[in-house]
């Protein structure tokens, strides 16, 4: 007897003008304010551990990024997590870091992921191995985030590999990229965004934003350059657990810049954790007002359970309930599709 792979989820139908079958693209193209978050992969070989992590976001997020060895630490692979999550109907974003795989492995993963229904990818260069738990590993960096975007775009739109060889059924992927408006060289950042869009980016998630003014300058410039109509931008935010954590992140996590005023505000609060969440909510509300912002990306490492409350209090969903497994509420389904 041949056992057929049983999926709990029926893939969504194709929609004209959409790159993917995915729910995240649908929400964004419908002009809804999208919420995405980050899923820290487990250090285990249990599928249930993945579902447990995802469940805390139920009803509050439109997509969740399964990180790919983030911070150069080893965890369950992004492609496997996304396959598991897609199978039950979630809309995960598969992160691909160029640090660990060459072009042969990456293109194979993209096809495999698409075959399992994964419809969003985020193309990253990746942190250097020196920050991780395997600093002696060989950094691959065969592609960079830009050529990775161009590669998957070619696979999707021209149905061929980098080598030119034909793909019989191309991967229908909604293509994402990262940007960091808070990192030097600041003048280059909007141009780099333009370059990412030219390479194929359909949506952008940024690194943590703590300086809204700086983001506004970046977005204004992007607007002037006519980039905001060409892709969806989801700035990144996250709650800081304490002034101490914030200082640690600032010195140890590449690319995260936290202004002194945020750290002193945290230090002065009686309940620092709560204050961190309050700051996060305020940031979301301010960022939302910036022209061209299509959603928000909440990274709450080790504070995942706080995401629902942050989203609720920020009010960005305006009563909309993003789809989640088991949600049968008609309103919830229709509002999203």
């Amino acid at each position: 007897m041949i056992l057929r792979h049983e999926s709990h989820h029926h893939p969504l139908s194709e929609k004209a003008g959409h790159h993917s079958h995915g729910r995240l693209e649908r929400v964004l193209r419908a002009g809804k304010f999208a919420v995405t978050t980050e899923l820290a992969p487990p250090d285990s070989a249990q599928a249930e551990d993945v579902f447990e992590l995802a469940r805390v976001f139920d009803g509050y997020v439109d997509g969740m990024n399964a990180t790919d060895g983030s911070g150069a630490h080893c965890h369950m692979s992004s492609v496997a997590m996304c396959a598991l999550l897609t199978n039950v109907g979630y809309s995960p974003v598969m992160q691909i870091s160029c640090r660990d795989k060459n072009r042969i492995a990456i293109q194979g993963d993209v096809l495999g992921a698409a075959a399992m229904g994964v419809s969003n990818v985020l193309c990253l260069s990746g942190d250097g191995v020196q920050v991780g738990d395997h600093p002696e590993a060989k950094p691959v960096f065969d592609l960079d985030s830009m050529s990775l975007l161009a590669t998957i775009k070619t696979m999707r739109d021209e149905a061929c590999f980098l080598s030119g060889r034909k793909i019989t059924s191309p991967p229908k992927m909604f293509l994402g990229a990262a940007e960091n408006p808070s990192a030097p060289p600041f003048d280059f950042r909007p141009h780099r965004l333009a370059k990412k869009i030219a390479a194929g980016a359909n949506f952008i998630q940024t690194q943590y934003i703590f300086d809204v003014e700086q983001l506004r300058v970046f977005m204004d410039k992007a607007g002037e350059m006519g980039l905001l109509e060409k892709c969806f931008i989801l700035p990144g935010v996250g709650p800081l657990a304490s002034a101490k954590t914030a200082s640690w992140i600032r010195t140890n996590v590449p690319g995260v810049y936290i202004p002194d005023r945020i750290i002193s505000r945290l230090a002065g609060a009686s309940d620092q954790k709560n204050e961190g969440q309050k700051i996060c909510i305020e940031l979301i509300q301010q960022i939302r007002e910036i022209a061209g912002v299509s959603g928000i990306h909440i990274m709450a490492y080790r504070q995942e359970e706080a995401v629902a409350e942050i989203v609720r209090q920020s009010g960005v969903l305006e009563g909309r309930v993003p789809w989640y497994p088991g949600c049968e509420d008609q309103e919830c389904l229709e509002a999203n599709l």
Binding site: G128, Q130, D142, D144, M146, S147, P185, F188, A198
Partner: protein, 156 residues
């Protein structure tokens, strides 16, 4: 050498002019290279190219030079070999995430590119590196490719 590397970025415009002058000279020598055989001249040219570019740019001989699009800052000195712009980890002082004592190659590239006439070239999306070209002469490759295209152009 790091000192010369920085000098080259500061003088990117002069170097651009120099490159623009030398390219037609190299192109004009195509019949000579061709008669001698590209394979035979590869070694001596490669040695000269390596010495000069190593001194000026800390060139890593990737064999597919993009200095004209990177403000004369060699992207192969980026610890992540990024050829299309900086990563998101550049330090606030403009130094590299991986090698803190070095200014980010792309902070330099942006600086150099601002002085150049072809300052839009930095916006070109560069294809992935062809690792098969490693340690071969980029100069000869350009001449050979350009001569081949110009010869083909006249054909029906």
């Amino acid at each position: 050498m790091y000192y010369f590397r920085k000098w080259s970025v500061t003088h990117s415009r002069k170097l651009e002019t120099l490159y623009r002058f030398f390219e037609p000279v190299f192109m004009a020598l195509h019949p000579l290279w061709n008669t001698a055989g590209y394979d035979r001249v590869e070694k001596p040219v490669r040695i000269v190219e390596k010495v000069v570019k190593n001194l000026m740019f800390d060139c890593q001989m990737c064999g597919q030079c993009v200095l004209g699009s990177t403000g004369m800052s060699c992207p192969m000195n980026c610890p992540k070999s990024l050829r299309n712009g900086p990563c998101g980890g550049v330090r606030l002082n403009g130094h590299c995430e991986v090698t803190p004592e070095m200014v980010c190659v792309w902070v330099e590239a942006w600086r150099g590119s601002r002085n150049m006439r072809g300052n839009e070239a930095i916006q070109r999306v560069q294809p992935p590196v062809n690792h098969a070209y490693k340690d071969s002469s980029s100069w000869l490759r350009v001449v050979r490719q350009k001569s081949a295209t110009s010869q083909n152009e006249g054909r029906p």
